[in-house]
Symmetry: C2
Subunit: 116 residues, 2 copies
Amino acid sequence: MSSRNTNAAAPLKAAVFHILLALSDGDHHGLGIADVVEKNTDGAISLGPGTLYRSLKEMTQDGLVREVAPPHGDEDPRRKFYRLTRAGRAVLRAEASRYERIVNVARKRAVLPGAQ
Amino acid sequence: MSSRNTNAAAPLKAAVFHILLALSDGDHHGLGIADVVEKNTDGAISLGPGTLYRSLKEMTQDGLVREVAPPHGDEDPRRKFYRLTRAGRAVLRAEASRYERIVNVARKRAVLPGAQ
DNA sequence: GTTGGATATATCCAATTTGGATAAAAGTAA
DNA sequence: TTACTTTTATCCAAATTGGATATATCCAAC
């Protein structure tokens, strides 16, 4: 599936979108992000380790997230915490709007309940 | 990205979902479906011919869509028209609900405007 | 009516994206 | 100490998609 760059940084891989959405909650480390994604999607989506760490590396390079110091009280040096950048939040908002548009289409077609 | 079968027939490939949503509008032939997908997504998503016809073949085998007679007035014998089956509509509704859930999460996080 | 370009379906191969196996290091608990 | 879990990381295979190509038919222009 191809995409057009109406908004900057589109198309967005599904994994990247879900990671961004998880981080809109606050800072999380890698496996913590995967947990939030599962909760956000009621278990429908689970990121494998390959997708997870590869995505975080790319997203850091692309300036969508940045590594931050662990929160106070967290002493596990293995964990790397990430935070949304301003650019990451903008990209997330753009993609979420596309999701919203799809949902609105589904409502118009009475696939979902709501205003036709 | 892996998925769990909370609802039957999950996970749903993105292409399959968009084709199902396009057909919730009524019957369409292959390229007509691709056009509706572009309109539904404001040009963000365009299906290549490989994805389009491969998906339609698989979806027919899986009983999500079925081929139907062309509408009256359409005399082009090349076109093959498709219609959602009851099972296809159920699968579409389940996946649209997952999209809706994601959008609601985005609203809760103030990524999208609306009720927090 | 025949020529040229657009439309429509179909298949194949390469590129993209993801999943899972594996590894290494550090935490935790018995 | 030992055994098990957690965490990050990388690699390779599997899954999914995109685009080139091919064939046939339609439509418009000449």
